[in-house]
Symmetry: none
Subunit: 99 residues, 4 copies
């Protein structure tokens, strides 16, 4: 699945030498590319976080309780995924424990 990497990472086969002394030029390019792509995506992530925050502020200005809104969103997120079997067991235990 992973092609034998000849370029990236510390060049393993500099036998006997001080390990990890260099990367090939290609490896450096690859590394740089990886880092830059990640940084780019993280910027987008940050922008989205800002947008979300703005909406929460709007909610607050409109008089909603932000904390409660957050909880609603959390609930909506988890309930569908509640695999039935799990739910069933939790309910069974709750019932049997008198909760």
């Amino acid at each position: 699945m992973v092609e034998p990497n000849t370029l990236a990472g510390p060049i393993g086969d500099n036998s006997g030498e001080n390990p990890a002394e260099h990367l090939t030029g290609d490896a450096v390019d690859r590394l740089r590319g990886i880092i830059e792509r990640i940084e780019r995506l993280e910027e987008e992530r940050k922008a989205l976080a800002g947008d979300i925050k703005d909406i929460f502020n709007e909610a607050k200005s409109a008089g909603f309780d932000v904390k409660a809104v957050r909880e609603i969103i959390r609930l909506r997120k988890q309930e569908p995924g509640d695999v039935e079997e799990h739910r069933t067991l939790v309910d069974l235990y709750k019932r049997e424990l008198g909760m």
Copy 2:
């Protein structure tokens, strides 16, 4: 700062009644809109997180040490001064403790 909101949030002035019994229809619509917009943005966020993870996996497959790559990214996003100051203190403590 917040204009008196007539629609959103528990209607405060149902004097004497059980508080927070209803929202106006408009408030419900507003709330729903807020929630849906946030959910939409969170999906995008999640997608980006997935993309980032993929790149880290690519890095790993290419033979890079993911943890070290993470640290590089972290360092690049910090004020060099801060890092240095922290490092200096850690080294001081280590030295004084004989580590």
Copy 3:
């Protein structure tokens, strides 16, 4: 509240000199004590974590669904703390949103 500390931390007033070059002997002792006490407590914590894990294993061997048991414990932990006002709002929003 905080007595002026003359011993601990980088000695601030070595004016003009390279900052943070030394700690007083007393500060070193104090630091060492702090670290050792924390390490001791963390060990105890770890031991407890082990005990807890053992019990979960016992539960599993007895045929209980560990994940469900975890959720039960989580529920028992949070329900009492649900401040009423918050609960009320969440319920209001849920109702109004038809959840």
Copy 4:
């Protein structure tokens, strides 16, 4: 691996019936015991966490940099070799990237 448990877990052999309808009384007792023991241990864990926090606060009051102290503790609990290896890689990457 798990001996057929006759008491705990959903009673599997109510053949054909709605599954997971009941636990035996013994199973309920067992479950309750498990939960209570875990809760007890978690309380102790929490107490220890509080103690640790107190010590960090003491450190802060004494003028130490808490973040640096944390790092010291982290370093002490790691294999020195690991730390070094990590450091070496980070430095290699930094160098190769011209940082």
